[in-house]
Symmetry: D2
Subunit: 366 residues, 4 copies
Amino acid sequence: MSGSTFGHLFRVTNFGESHGPAIGCVIDGCPPGMALSEADIQPDLDRRKPGTSRHVTQRQEADQVQILSGVYEGLTTGTPIALLIPNTDQRSKDYANLLDTFRPGHADYTYWRKYGLRDPRGGGRASARLTAPMVAAGAVAKKWLREHHQMRFDAWMAQLGDIEIPFHDFSWIHQNPFFAPNDEIVPKLEAAMDALRKSGDSVGAKIICMAHNPPPGLGEPLFDKLDADIAHAMMGINAVKGVEIGDGFKVVTQRGSEHGDALTPLGFETNHAGGTLGGISSGQDLIVTLAIKPTSSIRLPRPSINRDNEPTSVSTQGRHDPCVGIRAAPIAEAMLALVVMDHALRQRAQNADVHIQVPPIAGSLS
Amino acid sequence: MSGSTFGHLFRVTNFGESHGPAIGCVIDGCPPGMALSEADIQPDLDRRKPGTSRHVTQRQEADQVQILSGVYEGLTTGTPIALLIPNTDQRSKDYANLLDTFRPGHADYTYWRKYGLRDPRGGGRASARLTAPMVAAGAVAKKWLREHHQMRFDAWMAQLGDIEIPFHDFSWIHQNPFFAPNDEIVPKLEAAMDALRKSGDSVGAKIICMAHNPPPGLGEPLFDKLDADIAHAMMGINAVKGVEIGDGFKVVTQRGSEHGDALTPLGFETNHAGGTLGGISSGQDLIVTLAIKPTSSIRLPRPSINRDNEPTSVSTQGRHDPCVGIRAAPIAEAMLALVVMDHALRQRAQNADVHIQVPPIAGSLS
Amino acid sequence: MSGSTFGHLFRVTNFGESHGPAIGCVIDGCPPGMALSEADIQPDLDRRKPGTSRHVTQRQEADQVQILSGVYEGLTTGTPIALLIPNTDQRSKDYANLLDTFRPGHADYTYWRKYGLRDPRGGGRASARLTAPMVAAGAVAKKWLREHHQMRFDAWMAQLGDIEIPFHDFSWIHQNPFFAPNDEIVPKLEAAMDALRKSGDSVGAKIICMAHNPPPGLGEPLFDKLDADIAHAMMGINAVKGVEIGDGFKVVTQRGSEHGDALTPLGFETNHAGGTLGGISSGQDLIVTLAIKPTSSIRLPRPSINRDNEPTSVSTQGRHDPCVGIRAAPIAEAMLALVVMDHALRQRAQNADVHIQVPPIAGSLS
Amino acid sequence: MSGSTFGHLFRVTNFGESHGPAIGCVIDGCPPGMALSEADIQPDLDRRKPGTSRHVTQRQEADQVQILSGVYEGLTTGTPIALLIPNTDQRSKDYANLLDTFRPGHADYTYWRKYGLRDPRGGGRASARLTAPMVAAGAVAKKWLREHHQMRFDAWMAQLGDIEIPFHDFSWIHQNPFFAPNDEIVPKLEAAMDALRKSGDSVGAKIICMAHNPPPGLGEPLFDKLDADIAHAMMGINAVKGVEIGDGFKVVTQRGSEHGDALTPLGFETNHAGGTLGGISSGQDLIVTLAIKPTSSIRLPRPSINRDNEPTSVSTQGRHDPCVGIRAAPIAEAMLALVVMDHALRQRAQNADVHIQVPPIAGSLS
C-alpha cells in the first residue's frame, strides 16, 4: 500500500532517484504469452527522453531500457517484468546550493517536512525523471491493449502558456518537438520558448490525452471508477494541477439536455462525457485534459527560507525544462494506458461471463 | 481491491442501493478511544439529505444513522464501525420505464454493459444517494482530525450554471439552501432554479472545498500523492467531470516566477499550490475545485435506444435534483476529510519518528 | 488494508461484536447474474450456529441472515452484497467480571494492550461469533464455485482431544453433532464431552478440510500462493494454532522419492501435496488440516492479573463451547471456499487467455 | 495486488528468475533516517547463499547485493530501496530435458497449467533462489526492529528427516552448516547427508523460528492477525507444508487449563501460545515451527508425463540441495522479520495514541 506502486492487477512498482545509479520499475501481473522485447518499449522512452530539442532540458540520457526478468524466449511468462534504466548524465554539483533551501513551488520543502531528510541531487525522488519507468511500463500495457482490444493512445499539447493550439491532425503530433497536433503553429511555439528561455522563467501548458476504442464496462464503482482512477493517475504526474474528463469545467454552464450524449442505434451522437458514464467506460474514446504548472526550477531569483527558517533567495542553475508540459504528452499516454490495462484485467475477473451483443459504438471527438 | 472500498488505513466500505431496504458503510481502522455517537454524524447527514428545500429532490428521507458496531460505552474501540441508514421513501414504480432504456448521460447504459443487468430503481447503485454513507464516514474522520490536528473543512458553491458566486464569508455557507458563501446572491439563485425546474432541464455547478490547517507531510509519492488521492476521491463523486488543486487550470498561462509560492520565515506568501507540493501537504490549506455536470435525469425528452438497440425517447419522471451540485458541498467535504484522515494515519506509520521544529505556517486563500 | 477485510477480488468486510445489535459482512466483487437468496446461505449458518446440541454453547441464536443489497429480482447485480445477522440472545452481565481481568489464553489481554480499551461482552470482537458472517459469505462463494467449477467442500473432525476419529465416509459428517465422518465413534465422543463439561475444562481438536475438484492454475506466486493464502485464512480462525497442507508435518521424515506425486496420463498417482505445487493448484483436491486449541473460557479457576497488574484468579461463567473445534468444520469450509473463490477471479484476470488441453486429473485422498 | 509483493506498509516487491541476469527486490515504505549500507545486508545473504558446504547445492553465487536507490549519504530517505543481486553461475543446459516434462512434487506442472509457458532454467521463478531478495529485505527490517524495539531473530533446524535435534544453545546455530542449535549432533547429520547424497534422494526437515522481544499489540484482527500473517509468510516459503504457532498441533490433546498461559504480575508463566493471543502479539517471544518437504529435484528416476500427456521418466541432474531445509533457517528469520516490521508500522498508524503502562513481560520458550 506504500505509495510507489501503481495499479492493482497490472501493477507497477517504481524505484530510483534522478541522480542515483539507475531508475526502473517492476511490472507484476502482465498476462503471459505476449511477445516482448526492449524494442517494444524503447520508442516511447525516446519520445520522452531529455535533450532532444533546445526547448527541453539539455541533460543527455540515452534512457536505454533493459528487461531483467519476466520474459523467456521473447514471450512474457506472467511473472514480474523488471525494467532497468541506468542514469548516465548526472551533474550533482549543480544542486549543492539546494540542500539547505527550498525552491518555491517545488517539493523540496515538503519532502523535508515529511521525511526529515532528502536527496537534493536533481530533485531526487521528486524529479520528473521518475516518469521514465512509467512510460516504459505504459508501453507494455499499450502493446497488450492494442493486441487484445485494438486500442490506440494519443496525447498532444493543446495550449502553451497563452498560445492555444488548434487541433489539426493526429499525424502532426509526432513531427514537432512540442507534440502539437498542428504544424503551422510550431514557429510561434519555438519563438515563445526561445524568449522564455532567455528570460530565465518558465510557463504552464495544457495537454489532452485520448484512448481510442476502449472496451465498454471498464471501471469499478463506487470508488475505483475509471474516471476517478484516471484522475488519480494524471494528478499524480509531476506538475499537474487540474484534470478534466470529457467536457470538464465546461459542464458547469451546460444544461442536461445539452450535455447528455444521445444514444442511437449507430452509437452515441456526441462525446461530452469523454468516454465514461457513472465511472464506467461506455466504449467511446476516453478524453482527458491536464493543466500543467510552470516548472519550479527557474533561473530568476525567488524569495525562500533555509532549514533554520532564515530568509534567503533561490536561483536554480542546473538543467531544467522551461516548460515541463512539453514532455508530458508521452507520460500522460502511458499513465492512461496503465489505468485502462489494470481495469481491463479487473473487468474480466468479475465479469468475464457477461455477454451482451450490441452493434459497435462509434467513438467521436466531441 | 474491489471498488466499493475507499481508503487504506481508514477504510470505508460502502453498500446499498437507492431503493433497497438500507444503505450504509463499514469504517475499518478508526483509532480507538474517541468519543462517538450518532449525534456526531447526524448533522452532516442532515446537511446532505434530500427534501430540505424546493430546489432539490423532493424524496423524503430522514437519513437517520445507526451505529451497529465499533463503539463501546461511547468510545470507539478500534474495530469496525458499521453505520446503517434505512431507506424509507422509495417510489420504485417511477422507474419502471427505465428498465429497458438508458438516460443519455446516465450510468444506466454502462452498468448494463458491465454487469449484464442492473437494478433500475432510483438509479440503483449509481444513485447519488450512496454518498450518504460517505458523508457519515466523513463526519467520523472530521471529528478525529479536529481533535488531533485542529482541522476544519468547508465546501461551497462557487458557480451555478452561468451565475458566478463571489466568495463573501464562510459563515454564509450554512445559511442558505445553496451552500453559497454569499447571501446577497441567493434570490438570484432561487429565481434561476425556479425557472430551471419549470423548464424540465438541469444545470451544472462549480464547488470549492477547503481543508483548513492540515499537518504538513501528508501524501505518499510517487503515486499516492495527496493531490492525486484527492483527485481520485473527487472525480469519483457522482457527476464530477473536473478537479483542480489550487490554481488549477489557471496555471496553464502562469509563469514559474508567479506561480511558485514564496517561502518566508512567517510562512508562505501565497497559496497558488492549493496546499500540496510534490504531492505532499505543505501545511497550507488544501483547496480543491470541482466541476459538476447537469443531472442526467430530466423531464425533457431525449433520444435514446432500448436494450434491443432500437431507437426510443426517454423522459425521466421520478424525483430528481435539477442541479446535483447543490447538495455536493457536504459530500466534497466528507471525501476530502476521508482522504486526509487516511493519509494522516499513513504518515505516522512511516514517519512517526521525524521531528522537525518550524514556526507555524500560515494558511492563506490565494 | 485494515484487518477486517478478507480477499482481494471477492472481498469480504466483517463487522460487529458478540453482544452488539448485529453482526454481518459486505461482499464486494461477486460476479453478477447468479441466483441468490437467503435460502442459499441459511443452511451453512444453521450448521455453525450455537445451541444445536448439549456439546456446544447454549446461547440461542437463530442466526437468521438478511440480504440488504446487491441482489435484484433474485440475481446478484455485481455490486456489494451486505448481509446482516441480528444478535438476539446476549447475556452481557455474565461478563461483568471480565472487564478488569484477562482469561489466560484469551485475547482479552492483547486487545487491551493494542487498543487501550475493549468491549468485554461475550468476547466482543474476539468472539468466534464473528465467524458467522464468514460462513454466510462462504456460502455465496461455494455456490458460484459449484456452478462454475463443479466444486464441493467438506470439513470434518479428525481428532477430539486424545480420541482419533478414523475417516469412514463423507456422508456421516452431517449426521452427528461432531462433524465426525464416522458414526460408530459418536457415543465415545459424547461420553468424552459429557465428562469434560462436568470437569469445567476444555479440549482441543483436529479438523480436516477438503475442496473437491478445484481448477488447476489457482495461486499467485511468489507471495499469494494458494497454500499461503489458505494458511493465512485458516490460522486466522479463532483458536487455530497449526495448519498443514497435504501431508503437512509428515513431510519432515519423507524422502523426495516418496513425497513427489507421480504424474501419469490418467492423473496424479497420489496426493501427498494436498493439491498445490509451487503454491498453485494442480487440479487435485485441496487438503488442509487444522489444530484447534482448547477454549480459553473455562470454569476452572486460573491465575491471572488485573489492569493494575495485581494478581487475581479468573473463572469464566457465561456460556461457552467446551471444544471450539466442534463447530469449526463449517467455518473451515467457508474460509477455504473464500480463498479459492478469490483466486478463481484472480486467475481469470491474468490468465483468461491460457488454454491448455489436458485430460481430466483425478483427485485422490492420499 | 499481484502476487509478487509482500506486506502493506513495509512492502517488498520481488523480481527475477534463477537463471536470468539478476534477481532483486524493491522495499517501499521503509522509515527514513536509518543508517543503511550493503554491509548491513550482506551477512544474512551470506548465511543463505549456496555452495558453502558439501551438503547444499554446489552452485557458486557470491550473492553480492547492490543498493540502487533509497539511501542518501548513508541514510534511508523513506523512498523505495531497490536491491539488485546479479546471477553469475547459471548452467541452463542442465535443464534442457525439463522443458517438456514435469518433476513430481515440483511447480513445473502447475506453472505450465497456470501460465501456459514457463522458464525452465533452474526452476525459473519457482526456484528457491528467489528467497535471496527476501533475506536481503529481511535484513533491513531486522535492523529497524533491533534499533526501535531491541528485537532479535533466530531460526534453527529442529529435525533432519528422522533425526531430532535437541535444542542446546542459540550460540551453536551459527557454527555449523546445518543451523543446528547443538554441536554434538553435527557428525550424525553429516553422515546422514553424505548417505543421502549418494542415494540420489532428498529428505525433509523441521525448522523453528523465534522473534525475541516483540512489542505487544501487533496484529490486525479479524483477518490480518499476526499469526495469520506469519502463517501466510511461512507457508509461502518454497517447500513448506506445515506451520505451527507456539504449541501447534500439540494443542489438539491439551486441556484449556493446561494450554492457557497464566498471567502474573511478573509476566506470563509459560508460552504455549507462541507469542500471540487472538492474533495480537502479547509481548512474549514469537515461536513458529515449519515443516519442509524433501526437494523435488532428485537424481532417482520418477514416473511423469510430458506436455503431450505421454508417460515418461524424470531424473534431475543439475545442482540441487538434497535437503532444502538446511538453508531455510535464514529465510524463515527474514520472513518473520518482514511480517513483524509491517505490523509494527500498521500498529502505530492506528494506535500510536494508546499508552498503557505495564511492567515488562518476560518472554519464555515453553
